[in-house]
Symmetry: C2
Subunit: 297 residues, 2 copies
């Protein structure tokens, strides 16, 4: 799993969040029937759980209840999971493998995959608006607004459209950066912001955390491009080196491997600089920032 020497905090946190997210999905997802089976297939046992880790780490940093933070993390991860199910469809990226097993449409058929995505999307907001996620309706309502905005036309989905529209076109660095900030950055930022909301941090207190989130979001995408360029398919659990074939512009294609790697490291340093007002209680967030560019999958 994690091999970063000296980073025992992260070495404990990664398996813990994977286990807690799986058992919370198991407890909250519907249990009966083919749709429930497919929703579970698409969510349980896969992925690095980076977004739930960011959300729960930020929530813990501000003293929020872990069970409530895990519920919000389940909502967030459901949105991420639905986007992968739809992304893998033949009319989208046409990916047959995801997290080391057949994609949802390969296992359950295309119509079912469309509906599984839609079901997970609604499930996310069902979980978030439930009083069990927070006794304070203002917090619930704010969580819904942050997640819907980050995943909607001005966030994730808007970024996916820019990505499709950019295929085969020569995008420049600002255009790729903008596209990626919407496509993956918005949801990573939402992870941190939702944790802050659960920790009752007022909007004006979230500036540093939002800066941290923006920087690691971009670093994450550059690291993803580097892994797509040079990574190990077995470790990734999905097909790699598809971007070049699809005519997609990546940071690596634009900057070259070395400059891209340097840029990712610079962004991590910048992310860490946003955390200077915190003491060692923010060490997990610091470790996550470093892990994001040093991971091998």
């Amino acid at each position: 799993m994690v091999t970063l020497t000296g980073d025992s905090l992260l070495a404990r946190a990664l398996p813990a969040i994977a286990r807690d997210v799986d058992s919370m999905f198991d407890a909250l997802l519907p249990g009966e029937g083919r749709l429930a089976e497919a929703m579970r297939y698409a969510t349980i046992g896969g992925g690095k759980r980076l977004r739930p880790l960011l959300l729960t780490a930020t929530a813990a940093l501000h003293g929020a209840d872990r069970t409530q933070a895990l519920r919000a993390a389940i909502a967030l991860e459901s949105i991420h999971a639905y986007s992968l199910v739809h992304d893998d469809l033949p009319c989208m990226d046409d990916d047959a493998m995801r997290h080391g097993k057949p994609s949802t449409h390969k296992a359950f058929g295309e119509a079912m995959a469309v509906l599984v995505g839609d079901a997970l999307h609604a499930f996310a907001f069902e979980v978030l608006a439930d009083p069990a996620t927070s006794g304070d309706p203002f917090v619930r309502s704010e969580l819904v607004q942050i997640l819907a905005t980050a995943s909607g036309p001005a966030g994730m989905v808007g970024g996916q459209v820019l990505d499709i529209e950019g295929e085969g076109q020569a995008l420049d660095l600002p255009a790729i950066t903008r596209m990626q900030q919407q496509k993956t950055g918005a949801l990573l930022s939402a992870s941190v912001e939702m944790g802050a909301v659960l920790g009752r941090l007022p909007p004006e207190g979230r500036t540093h955390l939002k800066g941290y989130a923006r920087d690691i979001g971009l670093a994450f995408q550059i690291a993803d491009d580097l892994l797509d360029h040079a990574g190990d398919e077995a470790k990734a659990g999905k097909a790699l080196r598809k971007d070049a074939g699809a005519g997609k512009q990546t940071f690596v294609a634009l900057l070259g491997e070395e400059r891209a790697r340097g840029q990712a490291r610079m962004l991590v340093d910048q992310a860490l600089a946003h955390l200077t007002s915190y003491g060692q209680e923010a060490d997990l967030l610091r470790s996550i920032a470093r892990y994001i560019v040093e991971r091998d999958r």
Copy 2:
């Protein structure tokens, strides 16, 4: 438009809600770019706006603000619209026409149609959780919960899965009824319940309205089956008589045309009986119940 003699209330309400929903969509949807264009294509200028009409009529019955009710109706209609965009996809019902014009995937391509559906889905919750929909976060949070539950695995999407799974199988009346109560009934019930929430009706006061909604929901589906069986494609603005070809069981196939028509009328009478505690202030809801089985599109 409406030709029901003596029903001037509905004759005014139908064009008014169509106009107000269109102008509210126009004001709230993003305005720039291809995604915005496709979201507008899928939402503005189409459909009977039956769900917004039910929501705003119920809200008005309990004195809620019309602008806030219209915002909630936009959220509801966005969910309905996204489900049609995804439903029309080649891997789903494969429909080329919707509301008298090419379906979204015919006009914008399949990948874009998947993303337009996802964007409208997120947009619905973004609108609902916005303080402009209600100054009371408890109301916003309750609206989100009702809409997410009604459209999720235990509601609309769950019903769509039962529908797909039932193709080519001999479903009996209870099985079809259950499937349709999820597939279309849940969202129609949500329309009424969301109006009641905006009108500050407590859960225990919503029993009659929920009974009304359940009955007209089923009557609506039987009327839809009858229109599919014997209706006019030009008026419907979509292909008809597809159900039999797809091996789908319908109320008409199971009961025959005459008994199905009788059943729909009985359900309308039953729906009206739920409204006896209301005076003439509920006349619009009564007219909607009758319109649902007498409409020709």
